[in-house]
Amino acid sequence: MDKSDSELIEATLAGNVAAWETLVRRHEARVYNLGLRLLQDPDDALDLVQEVFLGVYRNLARFRGESQFSTWLFRVVHNKAIDLIRRRQAGPVLESGLEEFPEPVQDEADPQFQYLENEQNRQISQFMSRLSTTQRVIVELKVFQSLTFEEIAALQNIPVNTAKTRFYAALRSLKTMMEKQS
């Protein structure tokens, strides 16, 4: 029977390297795919995975089990992802609220997404890349991570209604893109 996250953490803290690897393998795909959708680059996504688990590892002794490990992990993932996006864009992102960033001009054969063999993934990535950063993050949190608006608001330190408004604006943008595509 598979060990729980808490058991793996205890074993890791006791020096069991295999337990740490098991814990990482259990959660890394979620982090990596989030990175692909948010950062639009496989190398950046892998950077995110490595930074996240390095950060988690360094702070593992602080995890007291009051919340689920996956919840705690996701908070780290969110913060690291925002940090990476900021570094890539070299400018403020989330403070500016609904500020729109210039949409990259891309066509269907954009080589940027050739690493995605799956056609659906490629299309979704293109749509996501054309969203502003704030909208992309909110779609990721709501659609792919299934967070509630209260959780999103708490994570991003914004009012709940702001989170809802951003989500609506993102859906509207996606709808327009999909209509143009078809």
Partner: protein, 222 residues
Amino acid sequence: MSCPRIALSVADHFDDSLTPSQRQELEQHLASCAECRQEIAQLQDIPAQLRNWQDMAVPAWDRKPQARHVLARGSLPLRRRADSWRKAANWLPLAASMVLAVAVVTQTRLNVTDDGWSLSFGGAAPSVTSAPALDVAQLNALLQSHAEVQQAATRQWVEAALRAHGETTAENLMQWVNYIEQQRQQDVQRMEAGFQQLLDRDFQTVDSVRQLASYVMYQELP
């Protein structure tokens, strides 16, 4: 005219965490607002389309190095505490100097009597309160002697503090000098060893050439 709560209606529609009363409120609004209903109908499929994303496998990466430094729970705080004490110790001479400087500037005095102890600033105040019956001349003389004693004492404190601070700094400097000297000696030894190896190799090469030359000469002889 656009419905003012269209964004909230759409967002709430996709929110599975609505309470029954919130859900009922939304339904009531949708029943009377064609615009919100239409908008939800238009956007309904988008999240489902996005969820068609197929998770991709994570490329190979080294998970082990992070785990090499695994510390047992409890050891990390101890190490941090040790670090913080070490850092604090570096500031001790400066802190002591600052305290003494403040004491000098404010003429701080510690008065210990049978009733307990008291701290006074400015030097003259305790004398006034402790000898109210003295005349002005006596008081001035007393104050003068107190001031001299106090100045001598504070001078000693400052000198001692400066000496301690200087010794600490000199010790640190000496440690650096010793360290740099050791490094320099090691570098010289390494260079000498490398040079020796080069020389040895050169000698070997010369020997080889000599052997080759003698062999060639031997071959050329009839």
